[in-house]
């Protein structure tokens, strides 16, 4: 029993975080907002960092890593509010595709959109080469018509009918939860930084308890959402029987943390938070978007309820971790 990341995992996280902090700044988000949301140079940079091949076996030109690493990277993608379809393509679709597609994804030469009946739309269909859904992958249609959405950097399209695929749903929900956690962390930082510099009554507003308590409450929510996410990643990596329940818990916890962070951050920013000029809105809107994607809070809570109240799943060491207590 050792609930820590390895040195290599922590180094990977730091490398991705540093890269995105330097290359994927709020100024980039503002440029993308004007120019239409996507930039080949950003995609190439993410591929150059190895994210494309993160989950692709080494034989196909990838790094051969697992879902714990994928979740750590997805948190950083959320923290930087990356909008390229890298999470769906590399962190969700790649391990579910064949060797040929995996090699292309590792090289940055293939983009995948994800279809599932749980979503009333499909993201990034315009840039996709393939659509992956229940029943396999198909060529993406040409020139789909975009929907009008709240997140200026997210592109949504009318859905493509396909059967449900539980593994796809679970993987996508896990990676969405990770991005929500990253976004929540960033919103807490944005609000905290603002509270340190904005002065009223002759002092920084962050010296007032009303502001402190708001932000501390977000810190608590985040602190107790993160290990739920990590456990879900571990369970998915081990293909443990209770993985779907653990992922649902992660999605609910991450959604709650992100929604609380978003509302708290706008409140701490005061009227400035209500402007387009302050960067906060990019993360806030992404939180709203990901909160509803791949099963909303109600859907995931129902799945937990079915196990806990309907199915008699107990709580404690028999179920908290991946395997059975007396396994082996």
């Amino acid at each position: 029993m050792d609930f820590r990341f390895t040195e290599d995992q922590l180094n990977l996280r730091e490398a991705i975080r540093d890269y995105l902090a330097g290359e994927h700044t709020p100024e980039v988000l503002r440029r993308l907002d004007v120019e239409g949301g996507r930039d080949a140079a950003i995609w190439d940079g993410l591929i150059g960092m190895g994210i494309g091949g993160l989950l692709v076996p080494e034989a196909q030109g990838g790094l051969g890593m697992g879902l714990i690493e994928a979740v750590l990277v997805a948190v950083e993608l959320g923290r930087a509010n990356v909008s390229e379809p890298i999470a769906d393509t590399a962190l969700v679709a790649a391990p579910l595709l064949g060797e040929e597609e995996q090699a292309k994804i590792a090289a940055g030469a293939l983009k995948v959109a994800l279809a599932h009946p749980i979503n009333p739309w499909i993201a990034d269909l315009d840039s996709a080469d393939l659509v992956l859904g229940g029943g396999g992958a198909h060529s993406a249609p040409t020139d789909p018509a975009p929907l009008d959405t709240v997140d200026p950097l997210r592109r949504l399209f009318a859905p493509i009918a396909c059967p449900a695929d539980d593994t796809l749903l679970d993987r996508a929900a896990l990676i969405s939860a990770a991005q929500l956690i990253g976004g929540a962390e960033r919103m807490l930082e944005l609000a905290t930084d603002y509270a340190k510099t904005r002065e009223q009554f002759g002092q920084p507003i962050g010296s007032f308890q009303a502001i402190k308590h708001h932000l501390a409450t977000v810190a608590v929510k985040l602190e107790f959402a993160r290990p739920v996410l990590w456990r879900a990643a571990y369970a998915a990596q081990q293909r443990a029987a209770r993985t779907p329940i653990h992922i649902s818990h992660a999605k609910v916890a991450a959604t709650d943390a992100a929604m609380l962070a978003a509302e708290t951050a706008i409140q701490v920013h005061g009227a400035m938070g209500y402007t387009y000029e302050v960067d906060l809105h990019f993360w806030m809107k992404r939180a709203w978007a990901l909160a509803g994607a791949w099963g909303d809070r109600a859907w995931h809570q129902r799945r937990i309820e079915a196990a806990v109240i309907g199915g008699g799943m107990t709580i404690g060491p028999e179920t908290t971790f991946a395997s059975e207590l007396n396994h082996g």
Binding site: F3, A195, H213, A216, R226, P227, R231, I309
Partner: protein
């Protein structure tokens, strides 16, 4: 990351389980807040000690087993699984013990730790004063040096266990000219010392739980001081850290409550409000999250890390989780919630638990103080 128990950990669990099944009293003990129940709980401490289960993480030299925090979590899981009684010596083993381990002399360790682990000496806290609650640095009770003794005068309040306990630990002003955090010292003394008067305080539920302690020129040897004269504040902050941190409220406690809450919900599902339904699931998820976080922190501590202000995150989470879970239970019980004894003759443990849960966000430093600590020390906001 390896979230599997090792064969050795599973064997340890089996050992604890077998011992608990053989020794945990079949009938619930009377309340710890009354004389009879207190004596029963002290007896249980001694039974635990007879199995060498007093404090498994302590070194063997002091009555422990020298085990790591993961084993401690396993021990606690089995403790709650067996429905074992509350720990009468919680103040000693979870707060003062770790403090002496860190700041005490070898002589003090030998003198105080083993009797603590064996349940021979039960400890009370003597920190708060009528005008020093959240603002603990406003302490006025003084300890005046007289040769190799201190002469203590003043008043402490909200002292848990003080009505029946043997000794107390607290901070006193040893430098009469000092202000605030300076000039305080951490001192231990027997509650049957001449000049000590104890007045139990009747609590919300009608029982006496904590007490006031009056000191009228009580003579205490200087050897009973932990760490240097004037260093009491730092020692007390370390003790407070233990209190808010990992050990005081182990996750098994809340997992056990969540399990009972789900069972209660099933009995009352037909009449449950949507809010109670939501709260039951939230309590289950939060108890699970608390366990996961505790295992993560324990893993870090085992690897040499340490908990500082992060303990405040913990204290807020478990205390608010506990209150919400019991509030949900009261809602599920509807009009039955007001009965202290249920029609089947059993005690209404949800009502007792709800009343107790209301103290959680207050004791061990109010949650408002914890939020200040998080904001200032973890987020870096200005004072």
């Amino acid at each position: 990351m390896d979230l599997e128990y090792t064969p050795e950990q599973n064997a340890f669990r089996a050992e604890v389980r077998a011992w608990m099944e053989a020794h945990v009293p079949r009938t619930p003990l009377k309340t710890l807040e009354g004389r009879e129940g207190y004596d029963q709980h002290v007896e249980w401490e001694r039974t635990l000690a007879s199995g060498n289960w007093g404090m498994v993480t302590w070194p063997e030299a002091y009555g422990g087993r020298g085990l790591d925090l993961i084993r401690w979590l396993i021990f606690e899981e089995e403790y709650y699984r067996a429905g074992a009684p509350l720990r009468a010596n919680q103040n000693g083993i979870f707060l003062l013990g770790p403090t002496i381990m860190e700041y005490g002399t070898d002589e003090q360790k030998a003198r105080f730790l083993t009797p603590m682990a064996k349940g021979e000496v039960i400890w009370a806290q003597a920190w708060s004063e009528p005008n020093a609650g959240s603002d603990m640095a406003a302490i006025r009770s003084r300890a005046v040096r007289d040769g190799d003794h201190y002469v203590i005068s003043g008043q402490k309040t909200w002292s848990s266990r003080a009505a029946f306990a043997d000794w107390c630990f607290g901070i006193f002003r040893t430098d009469p000219e000092s202000k605030r955090h300076k000039g305080l010292s951490f001192i231990l003394l027997p509650l049957d010392s001449p000049g000590v008067t104890i007045r139990p305080i009747r609590q919300l539920h009608g029982e006496t739980g904590f007490a006031e302690i009056f000191f009228d020129e009580v003579r205490v040897p200087v050897a009973n001081r932990i760490a240097g004269e004037g260093e009491g504040w730092n020692v007390a902050m370390a003790t407070a850290g233990f209190e808010r941190g990992l050990m005081l409220r182990s996750p098994a406690r809340f997992q056990a409550a969540a399990k009972r809450l789900v069972a209660l919900y099933k009995e009352h599902a037909a009449t449950a409000s949507p809010a109670a339904h939501e709260a039951v699931l939230q309590a289950w998820m939060d108890a699970e999250a608390y366990a996961l976080n505790t295992y993560a922190v324990a893993s870090t501590v085992i690897a040499g890390g340490h908990i500082g202000a992060e303990a405040s995150l913990n204290k807020i989470f478990w205390s608010e989780l506990d209150r919400a879970a019991h509030r949900a239970a009261m809602s599920l019980l509807g009009a039955t919630a007001e009965l202290r004894t249920l029609p089947d003759g059993s005690a209404n443990i949800w009502q007792e638990g709800y009343i107790f849960s209301l103290s959680g966000p207050i004791y061990a430093g109010s949650n408002e103080i914890q939020r200040n600590i998080i904001a200032e020390r973890l987020l870096g906001l200005p004072r």
